[in-house]
């Protein structure tokens, strides 16, 4: 079973606020990912990381930013939240050796921007 955690699980916030969504994993995985999921839609990759000090943008353009200072931690930040950012954000991780393709997901953060 995967050990990947996301906080908060639910967040309601006003427009213009800065928010940080936390993601941590205890599996020692080097690769981590952020996906965005709108209701009834597929997941889209917005950021990923190969390891410490590595961050890349995904296929879906996003105004969010990420950082990877520690292996286990991959936070996502929105400097100024807008209603268009309302969505579910899912964090995932995978190994960098062995089975490098299987991703394990956290429980997600549901964000509502008013």
């Amino acid at each position: 079973e995967a050990d990947i955690y996301q906080t908060p699980r639910y967040l309601v916030i006003g427009t213009g606020k800065k928010i940080t969504l936390e993601c941590s994993q205890t599996m020692g995985h080097d690769k981590m990912y952020w996906y965005q999921q709108d209701p009834g839609m597929e997941l889209h990759l917005i950021h990923y990381s190969y390891g410490v000090n590595s961050t890349e943008k995904g296929d879906l353009s996003s105004e969010s930013t990420v950082s990877r200072i520690r292996t286990e931690h991959f936070p996502l930040t929105l400097e100024s939240a807008r209603p268009s950012h309302t969505s579910q954000y899912l964090c995932a991780s995978s190994e960098s050796s062995g089975d490098r393709k299987t991703q394990y997901f956290g429980p997600g953060t549901r964000l509502l921007v008013l």
Binding site: Q6, K31, Y33, G40, M41, E42, L43, H44, L45, Y48, S49, Y50, E56, G58, D59, L90, A92, S94, R100, K101, T102, Q103, Y104, F105, G106, P107, G108, R110
Partner: protein, 114 residues
């Protein structure tokens, strides 16, 4: 580009009946395929995966899937559905770029009736 199509947006089955969820992929080489399940308000849980070898793969919770290269399909099956199987099911394929990020289908919502 690698893509996944799940033709059925919603499926309703009676408890105890058999289930088949369809997934078609578009990929030039041997695909790495996954099925995930998402219960309401939760993250994604891995059901099963196919990388190579035996084309019939067994997963958790009594699910299985069959890879058919000639039909570009990876359909998920369960012989007898339980009410607790009601959830959203996502088929995914590993993309060629973006650090092995997954390309997801739009999902199939399963409703189980008594």
């Amino acid at each position: 580009a690698q893509s996944v199509t799940q033709p059925d947006i919603h499926i309703t089955v009676s408890e105890g009946a058999s289930l088949e969820l369809r997934c078609n992929y578009s990929y030039g080489a041997t695909p790495y395929l996954f099925w995930y399940v998402q219960s309401p308000g939760q993250g994604l849980q891995l059901l099963l995966k196919y990388f190579s070898g035996d084309t019939l793969v067994q997963g958790i919770k009594g699910f299985e899937a069959e890879f058919k290269r000639s039909q570009s399909s990876f359909n998920l099956r369960k012989p007898s559905v339980h009410w607790s199987d009601a959830a959203e099911y996502f088929c995914a394929v590993v993309g060629k770029g973006s650090g092995y990020a997954l390309n997801f289908g739009k999902g199939t919502s399963l409703l189980v009736t008594p």
